[in-house]
Amino acid sequence: MHVALKTLALGAAAAAMMSASALAGEITINTDTSDPAPKAAFQALIDGFKAANPDVTVKWNQFDHEGYKSAIRNFLTADAPDIVTWYTGNRMLPFVKAGLFADISDLWAANKMGEQLKSAESSVTYDGKQWAIPYSYYQWGIYYRADIFKEKGLTPPKTWDELLDVCAKLKADGIAPFAIGSKPLWPTAGWFDYMDLRVNGYEFHMKLTNGEIPYTDDRVKAVFDKWAELVKPGYFIENHAALDWQEAVPLFDQGKAAMYLMGNFAVDVMKNGGLSEDQIGFAQFPLITQDVPMAEDAPTEMVAMAANAKNKEDGAKFLAYLALPETQAEMNDILGQLPVNNQSKVADDKFLQQGFQMLSAAHGLAQFYDRDAPAAMAKAGMEGFQEFMIKPDHEEAILERLEKVRQRVYK
């Protein structure tokens, strides 16, 4: 019995030593890349990294996009990988505050990332330190049916009045001005973000999502009153609460709706539905309040290092490689998005070029409501936006409810 135990213990020790020696030079990467494009982009990233660092082996675990959101909480606390993908802004704070993400400020300083990744620095900074490497972002805006606009003699609206005018004309011709699928809630947040950014501006929007302004404030009410000018005349497709965002795209493709406020990832879905590139146009969200500088929604993708990473040295190498201009250019070519590194070349794509110009001139970049606001606030907020887009008369009750949530969440 004793002998058996002894050999067992020896065996375990040997196994532990072996795994320890295997760990040197191996990094584990967990990603939520279940869609084809992100998967291919990470494949390119990892292949490139391996070629540049032949002594490091990479173990890559891929998770389903939605399942990842709960899985990350388990693996970061229990058996942490070295590198993980996650979301910027407020969505990363729970992990930063719980000490699960590694502080990589030194890496930023050593590689002069503050210059090259400047545009997204604030979205990965908390408490004056950097916690992740941003590698990709994309624009939001109004995608419209260029052919329908041409046929009806319409031009993409530049101001609110022009927008209302275009909507009225489209509606009169039996075309729904805007497609939207609000079942997953977040598409409504795109609308709220832009309405608030245009009515009150970037600084106000950041304060609001930071919990510094009550939702019952008159300036917030003004946002909803403006928004109601589109909701009340029925300028959105009917029954959008039963549709996913992709399920609303066919209406756009069939010409039953002429505009869609979305992120650039929607172009791919629109093209798959049978539209050619010439049939789709992109326009910046129109100006509402004069003198409010134009800020945009531009969600950023990021990668972080776990605080409990087993191989921080090689993990840091990986992050540094990810921050390089060439790496980011290659990945974003595959992703169909914009590289964060300002030395990277932007892909030769009509929408990306347009988006790049728009975002380069932007007064500020918001991350998106559900990343700028804490999760509990975002959930209640987006539910309220959806309710408002169906029952605009409930405005007051919705705002009071959101205010109640705000007081609880930001306590």
Binding site: P94, K97, L100, N239, A241, A242, L251, A376, E383, Q386
Partner: protein
């Protein structure tokens, strides 16, 4: 004294081991032990843990913060909680339709025609497929642009009604989807029950002139009581734990109007924007208490019936 000693010496049985003496008492507990241990680890202890967590504010990552009854106080002022509770009551009431409908179909199918087994299995089919698939099928049935139902309502002159996007209809729409498999379940319970209906009593009833509904009510139904009991129990519990359909068909929407307590608990504690473990646990405790009312009632009845029988 001496007599006592004497008798002791005479009748002293051979010493039996502790195990032998208590075998009859211990054995049942030994047989129960594996099951009881599992039940304790996976059911009983987690119940108390949930109750304990419901007194904290906790995101699952950082330290727990004691808030006492704070979560429950918040529940009292939470509109979404009342919406969920209200929907749970709707579920309880309308899900019960599965019992009489199942009975009706069972009686209808309880005849000897060529190929009746095929018909029976076809009626039973919805119970065999997964709830997720049921939810998807009904989502397509209700879908505003491609679905069958909006076409029908339009043809009838009500316009295109998108059941799942309308707060007035959404819960009923989901309950209807849930009824489809539940009716099949009740039907199969009654079909087995009908097999055991004694032909003598039916014959006697017929001689006494009982026909149709009277026959059903006074002769058949009393004999189906065990089947009815089980059907009601599974339907009540099914209604209270309805979750899959809500999650698949609407995700609780539009704007939370189709939530039920179990879904709200999941949203608060475990979903993407949730991680309020304490609050979720408090909702779970309330749901547990509601379930306990029914379960206690059922158990009390079962015990009474067993004693009576």
């Amino acid at each position: 004294m001496s007599t006592a000693f004497a008798s002791d010496a005479v009748s002293a049985p051979p010493r039996r081991s502790f195990w032998r003496r208590h075998q009859r008492r211990i054995a049942p507990w030994l047989f129960l032990a594996p099951g009881a241990a599992m039940f304790a680890v996976y059911v009983v202890i987690p119940i108390f843990q949930s109750i304990w967590i419901s007194f904290f504010q906790w995101d699952g990552l950082s330290a727990k913060l004691w808030v006492g009854l704070g979560n429950y106080a918040e529940l009292l002022g939470d509109e979404a909680f009342y919406t969920s509770l209200n929907n749970n009551i709707l579920w309880l009431v309308f899900y019960m339709l599965a019992v009489p409908t199942g009975l009706f179909i069972a009686i209808f199918l309880n005849q000897t025609v060529f190929g009746i087994r095929v018909y029976k299995s076809l009626f039973f089919f919805p119970f065999v497929i997964s709830q997720v698939v049921v939810g998807l099928i009904f989502s397509w049935f209700y879908a505003p642009n491609i679905g069958l139902l909006p076409q029908i309502t339009e043809w009838l002159g009500f316009g295109k009604i998108a059941v799942l996007a309308d707060e007035r209809f959404v819960t009923y729409g989901i309950i209807a989807a849930g009824l489809w498999p539940q009716i099949a379940y009740c039907m199969i319970l009654y079909l087995t029950g009908l097999n055991n209906v004694s032909p003598d009593q039916v014959e006697a009833g017929r001689l006494d002139g009982a026909k149709g509904l009277k026959m059903l009510w006074y002769v058949i139904l009393p004999q189906l009581r065990p089947a009815t009991f089980i059907a009601v129990v599974v339907t009540v519990i099914g209604a209270l734990r309805s979750f899959d359909l809500v999650s698949i068909m609407t995700d609780g929407g539009p704007y939370g109007s189709s939530r039920v307590l179990s879904f709200y608990m999941y949203e608060q504690a475990l979903s993407e924007y949730g991680y309020r473990m304490g609050y979720g646990a408090a909702i779970a405790v309330v749901l547990f208490l509601i379930m306990m009312v029914f379960i206690t009632g059922f158990i009390w009845r079962m015990v009474r019936d067993e004693r009576g029988g």
